[in-house]
Symmetry: C2
Subunit: 308 residues, 2 copies
């Protein structure tokens, strides 16, 4: 039973896909990450910030999943971070319609006393100075620190990003961002250059084309599960990170062999997340479904060639 | 020791990539397919057509690899099919600079007597009526007939394509073409619809994003091997098909489990093909290299999760 601290946004999302649209629904990186991680035997806590427009019911929902929400600051009179996006027909591209930072603009994270010694620290996509601020609040170095980031921080806060990246063990990043960050088109070369910036492990997410795990000269690949229909990709990357971090926090085994399993667990959870809008599907996943789909991953990827 | 008949183009290619350009070099679907297949214990023969501008040295090269070239018609005074293309910086897109059909325009395939009873028939990308003509020349139904095609035939010869597709066992096709052929964006749905047109097995090639094998409700996925550098993708799809068909012709085992292995073998050979211009790398592959890289595929994909 490991302890997992998740730092990231808790937000309202409004989503349009070819299949329909939502009003403001529960979203945010820390939400997806912690809901995914909560499916494992971990003590998961969130550090984030919302306005007092954030429904009590959403907070209770997280608590019912066993997530410690004491680190979610509620700003009186403040408005919760809001993101709105519209997906193209192929669901691989989206236009951002609105990004209202609101209370996130002045976020000073405060890690609750009981979460200053997590086994795993998961730094969701946020300003790198906020990520660094959280690292500084740790009483002991976590066994594993995982960081997610995006191109915006590369464009605007490169030096801060480099500072925080030196402190972490695993970076999760998508393929385009890995190319931007490294200046290399080849993902093998990109991973090598990014690893030289700090993290021992580099996870490159390729959406429907799976995810690659790099460590020294070793590479592991987890496909995305081929689905009849992808309904809404929002939060899939964060769900992946949550499954990855949650599984590792539960197992406590940080060997490369077990990291492989963590990547498969992350892909497994992401395959549920995309089946409905926002967190809907993730909230309903049953343990038996997790096992059944892990079995599908096995059938999808495992073969038995005799190598002479 | 199975017998494999390969039908397809034998051609001159002129290729430009960000890394350099070639003059007219040896190319064509049947060339890549048969050079890949020749790495297996098969008796491989080509049915194709060239002009008398086709160098004797190229024909001898194929023969030295153990390929039967007696089905390659040489048209006196004719010019060999010529293709020229320029790849974009990302190597995922290319512009065709020239397509000169030449002797291919009037190609009437004649299968040599000794190859009218192959174990595996591999129909490379060609006019579907030519593919059908070859099927009609079979004395016995091959254990497995594999067909490759492209969007051009969907646009221009749909009915003929449907006729030939009813006669085959395996179709190999890229993701965009699978979507065009089925009208479905989801590759799972696309494979189902294409299978309903005839083939029991659908292989969807996704280039650097690997390949999917569909059969009834079963799916297998083979990634492309992540490489430091892709030098020239020309012929990678055909090399994949050649490894797939060659391995199956050698083993004679057409179970789904062994088809998985065939897809891995195809991906393995394609990973060599893209390392140099045209057929250069494929011509040099040593058996020991094949095994070593199969081992890399295993490390890349195999994991050991206990599913409860």
């Amino acid at each position: 039973m490991g302890k997992l601290l998740v730092v990231g946004t808790v937000a309202f999302d409004a989503i349009e896909t070819p299949f329909g649209k939502t009003d403001k629904i529960l979203g945010g990186a820390a939400t997806f990450i912690s809901l995914a991680a909560a499916l494992y035997k971990t003590k998961t806590g969130i550090v984030s910030v919302v306005g007092d427009d954030f429904p009590e019911a959403y907070t209770e929902l997280l608590q019912q999943k066993g997530i410690d929400t004491s680190g979610i600051e509620v700003v009186p009179g403040g408005k919760t971070f809001f993101w709105s996006g519209r997906y193209h027909n192929d669901l691989n591209r989206r236009d951002t319609l609105a990004t209202e930072l609101n209370v996130l603009a002045d976020f000073n994270p405060v890690v609750p006393e009981g979460f200053r010694n997590p086994d795993v620290l998961m730094l969701g996509n946020l300003h790198p100075e906020i990520q660094m601020d959280v690292i500084r609040q740790m009483r002991t170095r976590p066994k594993l620190t995982v960081l997610d980031t995006m191109n915006y921080w590369m464009d605007h806060t490169w030096d801060s990003l480099m500072d925080v990246i030196r402190e972490i063990d695993v970076i999760t990043i998508n393929d385009e961002e890995a190319r931007q960050m490294s200046g290399q088109y080849s993902l093998v070369k990109a991973a090598g250059m990014i690893s030289a910036m700090g993290p021992d492990y580099v996870v490159i997410k390729k959406g429907e084309n799976g995810a690659l795990l790099f460590h020294e000269d070793r590479i592991f690949f987890a496909p995305a599960l081929p689905l009849e229909e992808v309904f809404d990709p929002t939060g899939a990357g964060d769900t992946f990170a949550g499954g990855f971090a949650g599984y590792l926090a539960e197992s406590g085994n940080l060997s490369f062999e077990n990291m492989k399993n963590a990547v498969i667990h992350g892909s497994n959870l992401a395959s549920f997340s995309v089946e409905r809008f926002g967190t809907e599907r993730l909230l309903e996943v049953q343990p038996g479904e997790l096992s059944a789909r892990l079995q599908q991953f096995r059938e999808l990827t495992q073969f038995d060639i005799e190598v002479e």
